[in-house]
Amino acid sequence: MSSDVLFEIKDLEVSYGSIAAIKGISLTVNKGEIVTILGANGAGKTTTMRTISQLLKAKSGSIRFKGQELTSLAAHKIVKLGISHSPEGRRVFGILTVEENLMLGAFSQSRLDKTTLEWVYELFPRLQERRKQLAGTLSGGEQQMLAIGRSLMSNPEMLLLDEPSLGIAPILVKAIFRQIKEISNKGVTVLLVEQNAKAALKLADRGYVLDVGKIALSGTSAELLASERVQEAYLGKKH
């Protein structure tokens, strides 16, 4: 594991009106790592992801990617810098075909990179089989594959994955997590938000545990898996 800091959040605060959702969190992601953010519903995981992508604006604090401050940028400029976001709930374009969805993933690129498309089809062969089908007619798991594939189409350096296991059959969750590992092996840095702590910690190098807008715990995956607090709260083990 190298220690080149690729991405850094410092003292980030985000609020919805007068309600504080993120109360000053800091975290770093090194180049090539898989880092996971764990937490219960409402802990602020998705808020963090949406703030990184500038779909939400930070109240204070900084978000830096390769040294560049993101908080002053418009949302559509982020993907061009090399951060691609596969959002919670997949958000595929339902009345467009699988292929059109993938092409839109490459919208920020001046021209379509054929090898990336081939790679996405290699990772998720289902997508190639169904490329002419409307995205809205795919199963939940297939839509998740499409959402991840679509976010890879911009050749990102860092991938933000928000709850890829949400509402998906366990067997597909396994397949998708395997492919996330494969994506990481290709050199893409991954920031993964999950409720499924066990699966996420198995995959990730390090993790942060978010609890009502604050970081409650952080460490390597092994440390977190061993910690009583994580075991109690997220893995359902009682001591």
């Binding site: 092409m103 409307l134 809205g136 199963s139 679509r150």
Partner: protein, 298 residues
């Protein structure tokens, strides 16, 4: 049979004007989920702008290049007004409750309508004869050059728009923004530019529609935007609001429907029948003919 063919020709002419105007409603609705009530008045304004360009800029020339310039300048002027309208009347309300934007749209409609009245006066003006009065008689069915031009040019514009939206990168971006704006932003699509583009396209097509209305009906009034706007709006709903081919189809169907009512029953009843048709369609198929192809899986 003569009445049928004659009304078919008339219906297609009126229908293509409805369709051009309906596209402006449906494209804006598609991306912003907003009914741009000012669109009909923009169409009316275009006829007056065209009239002024004809008299003041072109020195009343009716040569083919002059007519083309009148069309291009009017479309350009309305595109600019459309972009300004979006900036001042709709963008500040983007995150406001939907009703606020609707009220703003109604206000914008009144501003434009009264603006036309202040500039060009409250009385009916006669639109110039930009196209020579040539008629062909096919055994009782009379078709004018104006009708042919309206139909052909509308079809060309609609096919071009369709290909642009379905086959190009920017077209795909428009469709993406109309499905999910946040997801579109994550793809790197600048939604503000897409909305500006929508207003440019919709307003220019509406401008062409307004000039056609002037050419075909000749008399133009400051408040005619309400009437034509309403018909085009109904056409957009019949086709499925937010759906681009739907607006084209809805416009054509409504034009034909109107023409046949006028031919076989009476033109005084065409409004009543139009609304009956609207009600029937809303009951039988609330999403319009081509509305919403699939339900989203959640």
């Amino acid at each position: 049979m003569d009445i049928f063919l004659q009304q078919l020709a008339n219906g297609l002419t009126i229908g293509s004007m409805f369709a051009l105007v309906a596209l402006g409603y449906t494209m804006v609705y598609g991306v912003m989920k907003l009914i741009n009530f000012a669109h009909g008045d923009m169409v009316a304004a275009s006829a007056f702008v065209g009239l002024t360009i004809y008299t003041q800029v072109m020195g009343q020339a009716t040569s083919l290049p002059a007519v083309i310039i009148i069309f291009l300048l009017s479309a350009l002027a309305m595109a600019c007004i459309g972009v300004i309208l979006e900036r001042i009347a709709y963008r500040p309300l983007r995150t406001a409750p939907r009703l606020s934007a609707v009220v703003s749209a109604l206000g914008a409609s009144l501003v434009i309508q009264n603006g036309i009245m202040l500039i060009w006066g409250p009385r009916m003006r006669i639109f110039p004869e930009l196209v020579p009065q040539i008629y062909w008689d096919f055994g009782g069915v009379v078709i004018s050059l104006i009708q042919v031009i309206i139909l052909v040019l509308s079809l060309v514009l609609m096919v071009t728009l369709y290909l642009f939206v379905e086959k190009t990168r920017m077209g795909a971006a428009i469709r993406a923004a109309s499905i999910d704006q946040d997801a579109a932003r994550l793809m790197g699509i600048n939604v503000n530019s897409i909305i500006a583009l929508i207003f440019i396209i919709g307003s220019s097509l509406g401008a062409v529609g307004g000039l056609f209305i002037g050419l075909y009906y000749r008399g133009i009034t400051f408040n005619m935007g309400w009437q034509y706007g309403l018909y085009a709006f109904i056409a957009a709903i019949i086709g499925g609001i937010g759906n681009i081919p739907g607006a084209m189809l809805g416009g054509m169907l409504l034009g034909l429907f109107n023409a046949f009512i006028a031919g076989y029953i009476s033109s005084t009843w065409s409004d009543a029948f139009t609304f009956i048709l609207l009600i029937v369609i809303l009951i039988v198929r609330p999403t319009g003919i081509l509305g919403e192809r699939v339900a989203e899986k959640v």
